[in-house]
């Protein structure tokens, strides 16, 4: 049985100020990162201005991991004990993993066209990243076209768990297999040689992280509302209120 309307409204009312605060912080961080990336951070010596793609390519990859982690967490929790919230978190996480995965592949390709002279190469990290995005696309296709029953949800949750197994492979592929993809944030050399470069990356991380949290929040909430509404529609049909529905 769904909770009474007053309880729903009060829950939404409590969460709203936090969401507004998150959006405000995200907006401020996005503008601050724009200022530092484009106006303050120096141009890199050998790569030139195209190196600045790095400041939103890497945070986008972290956002993809956040989405994938949400999908993994929601899926595991759903398999342990199915609830609407857990299912919604898994589904929202998969969507965001696809969104930010495509951003990572797109921005990386543009950087590669300058640095490597080609938009795409079958480098281990690029290939495993593409594979991961395709797994989450498969998850979303399954959820969109295979129905919304308990069995389909559990099958999708299992896919969400299996999809996460590829994430450490993406991360360690650069170290384990020979490839062209550079490593900048590592304890074996690399790094950013200017304080404004470090500030740009830190701000960009904070901005993108808050954006992905806001997106996750919106998507989970929307999914929960949609599920509750579908239940109400079924109740209405059971009560013989079929006219006017599903138009």
């Amino acid at each position: 049985m769904s909770p009474p309307p007053t309880a729903r409204a009060s829950t939404a009312g409590r969460a709203t100020p936090y969401f507004i605060a998150l959006v405000a912080v995200s907006t401020l961080l996005v503008f601050a990162s724009l200022d530092v990336i484009f106006l303050r951070a120096p141009v890199e010596r050998t790569m030139g201005i195209v190196q600045k793609i790095f400041y939103f390519h890497v945070p986008s990859a972290v956002c993809m991991y956040v989405g994938a982690a949400a999908c993994f967490g929601g899926s595991v929790a759903y398999l342990v004990e199915p609830t609407e919230l857990r299912d919604a978190i898994g589904r929202a996480g998969a969507e965001l993993a696809v969104l930010f995965g495509v951003i990572v592949l797109g921005t990386g390709s543009l950087w590669a066209s300058k640095a490597w002279g080609t938009y795409w190469t079958w480098d281990p990290r690029l290939t495993t990243m593409l594979l991961s995005v395709l797994i989450y696309v498969a998850y979303l296709v399954l959820r969109a076209f295979a129905g919304d029953g308990e069995g389909e949800r559990k099958f999708a949750a299992a896919l969400g768990v299996i999809g996460a197994a590829n994430l450490p492979i993406i991360h360690f592929s650069v170290q384990k297999w020979a490839g062209q993809h550079p490593t900048v944030i590592t304890n074996k050399g690399g790094g950013l040689g200017h304080s404004d470069m470090k500030l740009a990356l830190a701000l960009s991380f904070a901005a993108m992280f808050s954006v992905v949290l806001a997106f996750l929040w919106v998507r989970v909430r929307g999914q929960l509302l949609e599920n509750r509404f579908a239940d109400l529609e079924e109740d209405a049909l059971d009560l013989g209120l079929g006219e006017g529905l599903n138009e």
């Binding site: 939103f56 495509v102 951003i103 300058k114 929307g222 209405a236």
Partner: protein
């Protein structure tokens, strides 16, 4: 000679060499157009085939275009959701109106039936 380069530093230094700014002669009123002549020539076999600036702008624009596309998809989902909500609301209102008319019918029927009963 002006060499067109996509590297910002080289491009600006090239521009500075080609256009050094207003000279004292021009500021005092020299109108000789020959003093401001410039030749544009393409670089043959240059090392930069793609502009770093345009790639950076494309990457950043693509990032926001994809995020806005996601927001737009959420918007269309909400629009469809609102339509379904209207349907449910209409069905509930219709059922409520039908229930009202059912409960109202006996009350309105009695006075009309009363004279007939008296007769």
């Amino acid at each position: 000679m002006l060499s067109l380069s996509s590297s910002y530093g080289r491009a600006t230094s090239g521009l500075r060499d080609a256009f050094p700014g207003p000279s004292p002669a021009s500021s005092t009123g020299s109108t000789d157009v020959g003093d401001r002549s410039a030749a544009f020539q393409a670089v043959e076999g240059g090392t930069e085939h793609r502009s770093g600036e345009s790639l950076l702008v494309a990457a950043y624009a693509g990032l926001w275009a994809l995020m806005m596309a996601w927001v737009f998809i959420q918007w269309t989902k909400q629009t469809a959701f609102a339509r379904r909500l209207d349907g449910l609301e209409g069905a509930v209102n219709g059922a409520a109106a039908a229930a009202d008319s059912k409960s109202a019918k006996p009350a309105t029927a009695r006075p009309a039936e009363a004279p007939a009963a008296d007769a």
